[in-house]
Symmetry: none
Subunit: 131 residues, 4 copies
């Protein structure tokens, strides 16, 4: 599993870590029972402060995605995959809803919104390869 951080893009670093772990679990790249990299190692890999990683891991524990094995590290919880998959869809759905609401409030018609959506999806497909 590879993680990447973009500093100063508006999203807090700890939150970027949280999301990437969740996405990794949802996609099956990180399996339940597997140990995540230690706080210090992850910090070194991402070139960020251990405290920041620690905060991300703490949140992941609060969200029942990680669980502590004392003196050993943090492992992905047994039912984390199901949980992350659901959360992932909900999150994207919420963001779509908010964009659409904003778009209509600003006076754009459904046709215009759909047109924009399709053009962006196509452009993304060109850049990013197949999905």
């Amino acid at each position: 599993m590879l993680f990447r951080i973009q500093p100063n893009n508006g999203i807090p670093i700890y939150d970027q870590v949280v999301r990437q772990v969740k996405y990794g679990v949802a996609a099956g790249a990180i399996l339940p029972g597997e140990l995540v990299p230690s706080v210090r190692e992850m910090a070194k890999q991402l070139a960020i402060n251990p405290n920041t990683v620690s905060r991300a891991y703490r949140q992941l524990q609060d969200d029942d995605v990680l669980e502590q094995v004392r003196g050993t590290g943090l492992q992905v919880a047994a039912d984390a995959k199901k949980l992350c998959r659901m959360e992932r869809s909900e999150l994207v759905r919420d963001r779509f809803r908010s964009v659409l609401a904003e778009g209509r409030r600003s006076g754009l018609s459904d046709d215009e919104l759909t047109k924009i959506f399709n053009s962006e999806l196509k452009s993304l497909k060109r850049e990013g390869g197949e999905s």
Copy 2:
């Protein structure tokens, strides 16, 4: 023109003011040459801090949507309408792009994304009436 503010919904208040002015101009509800309410009056109307209105107006001047008429107030710039209409699309387009990028990064396929988009558009149509 009527404005509505939702405090603490995540979007900064000054930004809500900026957007609503731009949307109003884009939709033709506020016409070029028209004077916007004074900082104090707008603040009273929206029950927010005058500093916040002031910041919004400053940004609208930076964005060439408003211009100062010495001793009189702020008026909508001559070419503001065209500008706002373009920006409106660009903004929505950017947000679509970011949602889509996030969705694919999280492992969702284009089909799944399109499905979510359509379901949300339909649900919005049900609630909010025609566009």
Copy 3:
């Protein structure tokens, strides 16, 4: 409302802050809608680091006890009182359950446990005044 911190008594400082706020809300000493002291002021009052207070306040937000009023501070949520009262009972109940389980596992009879409970309750009443 008065807060007191005991450093190095095993309970993390941020947790002591969290509990005292919740107890204050549950007991009605802090009312819904009221602003809690600012991070910096609370830190000064308790002679601890602002970051520690910040962490406590963040948790209280996660627990829906506090909510942010942007640029103004943190206020007690509308339904925080009910929430804190319930949590308070549950917490005490859980601790009783664990003490009792431990006591019986260690071979003490119900009579012995009840005797100990009563003697401690009486001694507490002597020291601490009426409840």
Copy 4:
């Protein structure tokens, strides 16, 4: 004598071992003069790290429950039974005191505390059989 370990239940593993030995001695299941299993064997039995057993045994020696017999192993001290019986009560008493203190600090009355205690004792009796 049979030991059971619950990893990650909040109580350190070495402490669980310490307590179970003490409870065993207090209840008469382990007799003074008897040899406890070697560090390695105990570790294998409980499927825990030998270091952890070692730490527990060290603490039991500090508490005068075990004593070293050079070249042979660790045996239960002559007066360990009396000692453990006393400590057992004290430990439970301390925990009652702390729960009660916490409960009253949180604003619960003595009546409420007693009610909670009784209800938990009854529920424990239902589940766990007579004491």
